[in-house]
């Protein structure tokens, strides 16, 4: 079984993680483990993980799942136990993008809001703060003629 180790610099809620491959490890599982929360023992020193910032891994044999490294425990010299949890967003990112959904809050696609954006500022939203001060603007009606009195 091959396990690819990565350094992940994206936060938890990012769908497409920004990951950098560190190295591959090859070995065999010698004890039972979970698919979503596996615990894997590597014949490595814990410094081999921490020095290179390894915090993420990919296991093709586990259904092409990506995993966060949630914990490490040094058992003894040259033996480290790594606890993981599946990253469902990265693992199923293409399948998720194929789904349709009702967007509750969204972001503009560009620098300005257009009708194609999943945003509707006319929807009442108590979360958007407003200044205490109100602004008064003058809008002229263009294209007409001046009013004539008595005529």
């Amino acid at each position: 079984m091959i396990i690819t180790l990565y350094k992940n610099t994206s936060e938890h809620i990012v769908v497409d993680k920004s990951i950098t491959k560190v190295r591959e490890e090859e070995g065999n599982l010698r004890q039972e483990t979970s698919l979503t929360d596996p615990v894997i023992v590597f014949e490595r020193n814990i410094e081999d993980f921490t020095s290179e910032g390894v915090n993420y891994l990919f296991i093709p044999d586990f259904g092409n799942r990506y995993y966060y490294i949630t914990g490490m425990r040094s058992i003894r010299t040259h033996l480290v136990e790594v606890s993981c949890h599946v990253d469902v967003l990265m693992t199923y990112r293409d399948k998720i993008r194929a789904c349709s959904a009702i967007i509750e809050r969204g972001s503009p696609l560009g620098s300005t809001i257009t009708k194609n954006d999943p945003v509707n500022l006319y929807v009442p939203d108590g979360n958007m703060p407003a200044l205490q001060k109100r602004v008064t603007v003058l809008k002229r009606l263009s294209g007409g003629v001046k009013f004539q009195a008595g005529g």
Binding site: T91, Y92, C99, S107, P118, N120, V123, V135, R140
Partner: protein, 161 residues
């Protein structure tokens, strides 16, 4: 807020009639004062001359005032000044709009998103940045039940595409 009231109904007519009546009354008052003044001159009564002259001048002033304001009563001007002074104000209609100002922090939508309530497929062309999902059908995802629940919970709380 529009600055003018245009007299398109009969409700403005009393103003016009009052102006005309005021002109007639003022003229009559001026004539009466003139007659009294002339009689007082003939009789050598100085008090009558002063009173008659005063009434004549007052009557002329009233008549002139009502005559000058006859047309202006027909169009009413709202805003800071009304009536005759209003004619020195802006003669074109305009709106004064008072509204609240948003106090959005920099990249507010990137952190928390903006209200949406629209249906979209979550493709790269449709969705970008912070997004939270109200309802979704997770069809066609070969995930475990626990994983599907986690996906739905994450999408509901908000993710960044």
């Amino acid at each position: 807020m529009c600055g003018y009231s245009i007299p398109v109904s009969g409700s403005q007519m009393p103003n016009v009639i009052n102006s005309i009546t005021g002109v007639i009354t003022g003229a009559a008052q001026a004539v009466g004062g003139g007659v009294q003044f002339a009689a007082s001159v003939g009789s050598g009564n100085p008090v009558g001359m002063v009173v008659g002259l005063s009434q004549a001048v007052s009557g002329i002033a009233n008549a002139a005032s009502n005559l000058a304001s006859r047309d202006m009563h027909a169009v009413q001007h709202s805003g800071l000044s009304t009536g005759i002074p209003g004619w020195f104000d802006e003669q074109e209609p305009y709106f004064l709009i008072t509204r609240p100002q948003l106090a959005l922090a920099h990249d507010y939508s990137g952190f928390y998103g903006l209200p949406g309530y629209v249906t979209r497929q979550l493709t790269r062309d449709n969705i970008k940045g912070f997004t939270s999902v109200r309802y979704i059908h997770l069809d066609g995802i070969p995930a475990l039940e626990s994983e599907l629940r986690e996906i739905e919970e994450l999408l509901h709380n908000g993710v960044r595409f």
